[in-house]
């Protein structure tokens, strides 16, 4: 789960990482009130889970109430790379002397946490990696307990951070390590990490990703999930316990198992079709789950044909077949349905479908055959 900037900063503050004073606002009036409270100059910042806010005009300095109001009006509701701005963070403006960079990220390849620090902050760190790799200090943290203070100091020194703030930056790195370990973050990135004119060290931006598998032990973070940013069909599916991702095409898809589902999407695309969604019905799906799944898929107006690709291991084909029959009684399935049932209880499942004799239902033996059939039935491009 990606945290918005202000959520990350609030997490940092909880752990003693220095952040500028700020207030959250979701309306123009609240934004103005916040700006007045914080004082001027302050910065009006769009809160969206994507980078490039500044370039899009989503970060503006306000020197008085009139500007605060104007910026809030312009930025709230703005579209930044497909994300609509619902939240603002009004922040005290900082006196910037220097901009650096620090991050801790889970390196899944090495199975260790990686700390990265560079003097060259306030720019895309990939650029630093490409043009001046020696300036980017990358060190894996030995697995075990917390980051060693000596390690932190050495990384910061090697990054060429000014002598008088080495201790403060090292301290911040240790605190970031603490945030990672106690809050189950797989990424914490501060860019820029600024040195103020008073020679204080402050996290001016925050990017943080929390491990979804760990949200059960961080209920206050789980609550921050931005439900308004979710697609309504995806939200509906999630409530029914289905893993569903909406895509752009017209071929609705269901499979049992994430790998098989991804493979089904690929095979449909290869047959010239455009998948409308990814939907993993999961192992051991019962009839009810199939009814729910069909409800979600048929709620997408773009869908002109549906493919069920089932290879039952633990999942039983007769359960899937029952679900299809029940669904056709409960909801109107106006589009053709191609069903491929293979694996456990295949015979029983096919018998149930044959008995029900549903109009619009086409049975195929193989995965490739089913993909070709559904593309044919879906008709042209969506």
């Amino acid at each position: 789960m990606d945290l918005l900037e202000y959520q990350g900063k609030q997490l940092f503050a909880k752990h003693g990482v220095p952040v500028p004073t700020g207030k959250h606002a979701a309306s123009v009036d609240d934004a103005v009130a916040a700006a007045n409270e914080i004082g001027y100059p302050c910065v009006v910042k769009a809160q969206v889970a994507i980078g490039g806010r500044g370039k899009a005009g989503g970060v503006k300095v306000a020197k008085d109430e009139a500007e605060a109001r104007a910026h809030a009006e312009a930025i709230l509701g703005m579209d930044i790379k497909g994300f609509t701005v619902h939240d603002l963070w009004i922040e005290q403006a900082s006196d910037i002397d220097a901009e650096h960079y620090a991050s801790i990220i889970l390196d899944r390849s090495e199975k260790k946490l990686l700390a990265m620090v560079t003097r060259m902050g306030g720019m895309d760190v990939e650029e630093v990696a490409a043009t001046d790799p020696d300036a980017l200090i990358k060190r894996h943290i030995e697995p075990g307990d917390s980051m060693d203070p000596e390690f932190a100091k050495q990384v910061v020194k090697d990054a060429g951070i000014d002598e008088d703030v080495i201790d403060k930056v090292a301290e911040m790195l240790l605190k970031l390590d603490e945030v990672v370990r106690t809050e189950d973050a797989t990424l914490i990135e501060i860019n820029p990490l600024i040195v103020t004119k008073d020679r204080d060290v402050v996290a001016l931006d925050s990017k943080a990703t929390i491990d979804n598998n760990a949200l059960y032990r961080h209920p206050e973070i789980a609550e921050l999930r931005d439900k308004s940013a979710e697609d309504p069909l995806e939200a509906m599916a999630k409530e029914k316990g289905l893993t569903y991702v909406k895509l752009d095409g017209n071929v609705g898809i269901l499979a049992n198992g994430a790998g098989l589902c991804m493979s089904t999407l690929d095979v449909v695309a290869q047959a010239g079709g455009a998948p409308a969604n990814f939907l993993d019905a999961g192992g051991g799906s019962k009839a009810e789950a199939i009814v729910d799944a069909l409800e979600v898929i048929t709620s997408d107006p773009k869908v002109t044909a549906i493919l069920f690709n089932i290879f039952g291991g633990i999942t039983r084909c007769d359960e899937i077949a029952k679900g299809i029959v029940e669904a056709s009684q409960q909801i109107e399935i106006k589009v053709p349905l191609v069903v491929r049932l293979d694996g456990t209880n295949q015979e029983e499942g096919l018998a149930i479908l044959a008995d029900a004799d549903l109009p619009n239902l086409h049975q195929e033996k193989t995965m490739l055959g089913a993909a070709q059939k559904v593309v044919e039935l879906a008709g042209g491009a969506s």
Binding site: R181, M262, S263, G313, G343
Partner: protein, 292 residues
Amino acid sequence: MSIIVGEDTKLVVSGLTGREGTFHGLRNRDYGTDVVAGVTPGKGGQDVDGIPVFDTIKEAVDERGANTSMIFVPARFAAAAIEEAIDAGIETVIAITEGIPVLDMMRVYWKAKEKGVRLVGPNCPGVLSPGKANVGIIPAQFFDKGPIGVVSKSGTLTYQIGNELKQAGMGNSSIVGIGGDPIVGSDFIDILKLYEADDETEMIVMVGEIGGDAEERAADFIAESISKPVVAYIAGFTAPPGKQMGHAGAIISGSSGTAQAKKEALEAKGVRVGQSPTETAQIAVEVMKSLG
């Protein structure tokens, strides 16, 4: 020989008394796996269809000679159960559980490595050695015994391919589900090493998917250290690319993590990559036939 599980496996199931643990534990036993014990704290002294249940894995090791552990406990307790197995002297731990926090797995991974314990998973269907033993949820009826070793990140997709191989008259030495989580106990490389050393395995089928760079690193390893033919399938060409938070991620990954990048990396090292599960099975059959 087969790998990881076989005739010498003495299995203790952590979570045997739970609904899933019971269903799959008994299924494994019916297949012929030597299921010697179950563990559920607080239920020591009970039994599940004659299989004795203990409070701790150590007791299962001491009293029943367990050497392999299957972890079927809920995600919030699973990492601790894996660590318990390692501490108890278990040699092979197969973790089926989905949803274990990744930082827990990072800790557990290094502990297993330090103690020389083989860890497979988590979030995996387990390991099947046809004709010998099944530890996990792989439906054994779709696989025959034979010379092809399978290693896969996925579950049902693997069954699809296995079934196609079976229908073509080809069987498997073992089928290993390594799982799809970011940190897994055994990577493709770990399993490829085992297949290379296994006298029953003549070729290998590798099933990967988007995310991370395990397939790319495996490609390099295959070129350097694997003499047996390898055929691969990669799922996820049509999956939408994940959006990236921050830029740190772009620095560490040696690859973009896309299916296309994985396919290219494998083909560059002489691994044939099938376009679909069906084609992959066909290529494997072709290769087996050419081995004579």
